[in-house]
């Protein structure tokens, strides 16, 4: 919920900066390793957005992580654990990225 409130504050700031009064859409990027549960965030954001901005179209984009297979070296995107290499099926991989949590865009009018 604190994340949703923070996002609401960022939107208010951007709206003021753009000298607009109405936000029609909001884009948020959530990395798979950001520690954020998308459905919980969506639930909280629905409440915050409705309360502060009325009807807003919410788009949540999932950012994948990048895994590098420690056995065969293949690099591939992962959206959920366990991280199995699509080539050699080894389980243990180094994973990076997917840590983003950001407000990517607003649509205002």
């Amino acid at each position: 919920m604190s994340l949703a409130l923070e996002i609401g504050s960022i939107c208010e700031g951007e709206l003021a900066k753009a000298s607009e009064t109405r936000m029609t859409a909001l884009g948020v990027v959530v990395g798979v390793f950001s520690g954020v549960e998308v459905e919980s965030l969506r639930f909280c954001l629905d409440v915050v957005l409705k309360d502060r901005f009325g009807d807003v179209h919410l788009e949540i984009e999932r950012e994948p992580g990048l895994a590098a297979c420690l056995e065969c070296g293949l690099r591939f995107e992962v959206l959920r654990a366990p991280f199995e290499c699509p080539e050699c099926k080894a389980v243990a991989q180094g994973v990076s990225g997917g840590q983003t949590l950001q407000v990517s865009y607003l649509e205002v009018e």
């Binding site: 604190s2 520690g35 654990a81 243990a92 991989q93 994973v95 840590q99 607003l106 205002v108």
Partner: protein, 223 residues
């Protein structure tokens, strides 16, 4: 009127991250090593801290910031071990944030401190998103929680430097494979330093405390 698109690309937690960087700068300048302890409720953070404080307090100056949703129980337990403890009661909040830690640190004498523990609120999800200005995060998991927890909650394991498996004395009573749990944790984060511990029997505690001492010395050499 047509809608206009505004690119923002702002990190949601940038306000928290700025405060956390301020904490990190302050602690580093004073030579204080800081551990942010993350786990689900009941995994044994407070008990491990009690043992760790007893093991280290004769040669290191320690303090604890202890977070709980409600009650000051953990803080009261830790104070009995003779180190400064600041309690943060979040009143419903499921994680600590850098603002709360900043306020707590004002009450701690940081001129005479080597090692600061932050005991986060018991929760494997939200605390991993909030930087508190720590030197390292440490994730704990008890043997009663299931081997697949690192896969279900990868962010906590991904962002930690060390993984402490707790309550290993219970393994004979459970269908739990420590090897599988450790393998799962390493699949998320191959660089994790792993400690298998029991605060009840004392197993693994020396290894954990030696690692802490080494990390403190290492960070002092590099600053």
């Amino acid at each position: 009127m047509s809608a206009e698109r505004v690119d923002v690309k702002q990190k949601v937690l940038s306000a928290n991250d700025q405060l956390a960087e301020h904490i990190r700068g302050d602690l580093t300048a004073r030579g204080i090593f800081c551990i942010n302890m993350i786990s689900s409720p009941g995994s044994g953070k407070t008990t491990l801290l009690e043992k760790t404080i007893d093991g280290l307090k004769d040669h290191l100056r320690l303090a604890v910031v202890a977070g709980d949703v409600q009650t000051r129980n953990d803080a009261e337990r830790l104070i009995r071990h003779g180190v400064p403890v600041e309690a943060i009661e979040t009143g419903g909040g499921c994680h600590l944030n850098a603002e709360q830690v900043t306020r707590s640190l004002e009450a701690i004498d940081r001129d005479r401190l080597d090692l600061l523990f932050i005991e986060n609120v018991g929760n494997l999800v939200c605390p991993s998103s909030f930087d508190l200005g720590e030197s390292v995060k440490v994730v704990l998991m008890s043997v009663t929680e299931g081997e697949d927890k690192p896969l279900k909650y990868p962010a906590a394991f991904k962002r930690a430097s060390a993984f402490i498996l707790t309550k290993t004395d219970l393994i004979p009573h459970l269908q739990f494979s420590a090897d599988a749990a450790i393998e799962n944790a390493r699949s998320v984060n191959p660089d994790l330093r792993v400690f298998s511990t029991s605060s009840f029997s004392g197993a693994g505690l020396d290894e954990w405390q030696n690692w802490l001492t080494e990390r403190i010395e290492e960070s002092r050499r590099s600053t």
